[in-house]
């Protein structure tokens, strides 16, 4: 009787999924990259510097992986979380104390912080190796937008636990929006510098109202940030990431002149 792995690899089911032998020789190592949907993100062969960790720091890949971690844990968290004033905070308590896999929220939060840091480090590496230089100018611009989306993802997610930390951080962060030039009704700077006893309810400016969906951080804001956090921004980021990766291929690898 042949060994088990040969039986499996020889079966019709296996062959229907993987249409070529195991990637143990040169030919099949090329074929695997061309026939696998996930692997075809990569080219078949790349410059040696492109896999050197001390050169690439792997930070772009790590950022993408953290995005996937956030997606998976985020979907699981959505099972347990309702973005309403009545339930948001209680669901947080339940997530910590009742739900199994009690570290779900921890993984989501720490991976989010880590993602902000790894995006910066990725950008830092790209700058220090001059990888934004022609022909990669456009991809750098996309990267800047992705940086912005990462910060917005983190910012909108910050509100969802609906505790003191959340609403006051969002309040402070979004207060800047009411000072938007040309949109009027921004309070004088001193009112913001003196954070003690700040009056929350203002004649809202359009920018802040548009962000919060209300004149102050409330239930409308929670709903708005929830939708932005779970649907709108991830979709935008996914689209831009697809373009970002595709352009890496089209522009001839991660760095260096063509």
């Amino acid at each position: 009787m042949p060994p088990l792995d040969e039986i499996i690899r020889g079966s019709q089911i296996w062959k229907s999924v993987f249409r070529h032998p195991a990637p143990v020789d040169r030919r099949n190592r090329v074929v695997v990259m061309l026939t696998n949907f996930f692997l075809h993100l990569h080219p078949v062969s790349i410059k040696k510097q492109g896999i050197s960790l001390s050169y690439t720091w792997c930070m772009g890949g790590v950022t993408f992986f953290l995005f996937l971690v956030e997606t998976v844990t985020g979907v699981l968290l959505m099972f347990y979380y309702r973005p309403t004033l009545e339930w948001a905070y209680n669901d947080m308590l339940a997530l910590r104390d009742v739900a199994s896999l009690g570290i779900l929220r921890e993984i989501h939060r720490w991976a989010a912080h880590a993602m902000v840091i790894t995006v910066w480090l990725h950008m830092y590496r790209v700058f220090l190796t001059g990888s934004y230089k022609p022909p990669r100018e456009f991809n750098w611009v996309i990267g800047v937008i992705l940086l912005l989306l990462t910060l917005l993802l983190s910012f909108t997610g910050y509100l969802l636990p609906w505790d003191q930390l959340a609403i006051w951080a969002i309040t402070v962060g979004s207060n800047m929006a009411r000072a938007h030039p040309f949109l009027g009704h921004e309070g004088p700077g001193s009112a913001l510098l003196t954070l003690d006893g700040i009056d929350m309810i203002t004649n809202a400016s359009d920018a802040r109202f548009g962000l919060l969906g209300a004149r102050f951080v409330g239930e409308e804001t929670l709903n708005r940030f929830y939708v932005l956090h779970c649907v709108a921004i991830p979709l935008g980021a996914a689209l831009l990431m697809a373009i970002h990766f595709w352009r890496v291929r089209k522009d001839g690898g991660i760095s260096g002149p063509l």
């Binding site: 190592r29 720091w57 830092y124 700058f127 309070g187």
Partner: protein, 457 residues
């Protein structure tokens, strides 16, 4: 670890952490010694007199590992309280530390590291610096005020970020210095030696797989060891003091000290994003593409590092660790006292000009004057600041071309539009330190102060 915990209880809590912490540093050094020994990269320092035995870096790091092991054992056996900086040093550090010392100190430190980079990138020097910073960190953790800020769950990533940034800055500078030396000798950069192509399977996909597994492990350990923060339920009537934005925006929040929100919160972030996007289109230097180098792109390197490390990161660190209630400045070892009073008597430029210099009142329209007249009076009142800024932004770019050979050559190579984008971005970036200096030296509040229309600058 809140204020009402007694110091004895606090030390009990922190002793366990310190034990693990010092042990970790010891293991780290032992690994370094092992690596140097195995790779044959150990450097002989001197020979013991008599026996002639060569003392190498291996022995040094083994010794350091031994010292940290002893510290670890000491911390777990009730000696944690003694493992601290003397109150004299801590009070002295708090006394010296202020926004001016911190900001200027950061700039001087970065500048010094940059100028002495060929020394500081040496692995032995960098490793010594890392050990010293870790030791200082450990000794500081027995201070309640220091620990309470650093151990705040959301602040832990920032501590990690500081070390990560330090490491990667060192790594890139290390390679850049080596590349620059190679280029000076007429050789190609290290990266060019790796120009041949390799198959992605297995070389890259396995690296990625290992990275993913390692990262998953790190996330699990992190998530188990450190609980995500969950404070009291949200309340719109109880304002915490200080109220802080999420940590990555604290550099912007710190800028609120010097700028009004419309600048710090809207215009300057927009300029940062736009400026970042503009980088590939204003950096015409073709060299330094695909390898680490500093000498071949000094201007780009210094400008970016100034913006990123000096402005963005150090302001975040200041906003996170050093800004307490009422956004007052507190030293690393200072208790966050909500009643600390800091005199704020900042003066507008128009006040300096009309009242102090010309010894007259500031121009003011009659109360029943028409809108246009009032605006006219405001413009006259603020004319010193308006002219100063017009001179700065209007005269800056041409002056740079006229008086600096460097910028003149740049202008010739870049053309008008790209040069204007670059020079204005640099002038805008430089405005923040200028504004800080004006605040510190002459208590300048606003160059242009038009509170009637919320237009303070």
């Amino acid at each position: 670890m809140h204020g009402h915990v007694s110091y004895e209880d606090f030390i009990m809590q922190v002793a366990g952490f310190l034990t693990a912490y010092y042990l970790f540093v010891a293991i780290m050094n032992a690994f370094a010694a092992y690596y140097l020994w195995q790779s044959g990269r150990a450097k002989a320092l001197f020979r013991l007199p008599g026996s002639g035995l060569a003392v190498t870096t291996v022995h040094v790091w083994l010794l350091v590992a031994g010292v940290f092991t002893i510290l670890s054992a000491y911390a777990t056996n009730g000696g944690a309280a003694a493992l601290s900086l003397s109150p004299l040093i801590r009070d002295g550090a708090d006394w010296i530390m202020g926004p001016v010392v911190y900001s200027v100190g950061s700039l001087v430190l970065m500048g010094g590291l940059y100028l002495g980079r060929s020394f500081f990138v040496k692995p032995t020097v960098a490793w010594t610096g890392l050990n010293l910073s870790l030791l200082l960190m450990g000794l500081s953790m027995t201070d309640m005020d220091f620990a309470s800020i650093v151990m705040k769950p959301d602040n832990v990533p920032i501590v990690a970020m500081i070390y990560l940034l330090g490491f990667f800055t060192w790594l890139s500078a290390h390679r850049a210095v080596e590349n620059d030396a190679r280029i000076a000798r007429g050789e190609v950069p290290l990266e060019k030696l790796d120009d041949e192509k390799v198959l992605v399977w297995p070389d890259l996909v396995y690296t990625e797989l290992i990275c993913m597994i390692a990262l998953t492990a790190v996330l699990f350990i992190w998530a188990i060891m450190l609980q995500a923060p969950l404070e009291e339920p949200a309340s719109t009537v109880k304002t915490p003091n200080p109220s802080k934005a999420p940590w990555y925006f604290l550099g912007l929040q710190e800028m609120l000290v010097y700028y009004d929100p419309w600048m710090a919160g809207v215009v300057l972030p927009g300029v940062v994003v736009g400026g970042l996007m503009a980088i590939p289109f204003i950096d015409f230097n073709k060299r330094g593409n695909g390898y680490y180098t500093i000498n071949e792109r000094k201007f780009a390197y210094c400008t970016f590092q100034f913006g990123f490390l000096v402005l963005w990161v150090t302001l975040i660190v200041m906003g996170t660790f050093l800004r307490g209630p009422n956004w007052n400045f507190f030293g690393f070892y200072e208790t966050w006292d909500a009643h600390k009073v800091e005199a704020l008597n900042n003066v507008d430029l128009s006040q300096y000009f009309w009242v102090d210099l010309l010894q007259m009142g500031r121009p003011k329209a009659a109360d029943d004057a028409s809108m246009a007249v009032k605006i006219g009076y405001i413009l006259v009142r603020e004319s010193p600041g308006i002219m100063a800024l017009a001179f700065y932004f209007g005269g800056g770019p041409p002056a740079m071309v006229i008086y600096s050979k460097f910028f003149r050559e740049m202008f010739m190579r870049m053309g008008f539009v790209r040069y204007m984008v670059l020079s204005n971005l640099i002038l805008l970036m430089a405005l923040l330190p200028i504004k800080m200096l004006a605040r510190w030296v002459v208590q300048m509040k606003y160059f242009i102060s038009i509170p009637e229309y919320f237009l303070n600058f």
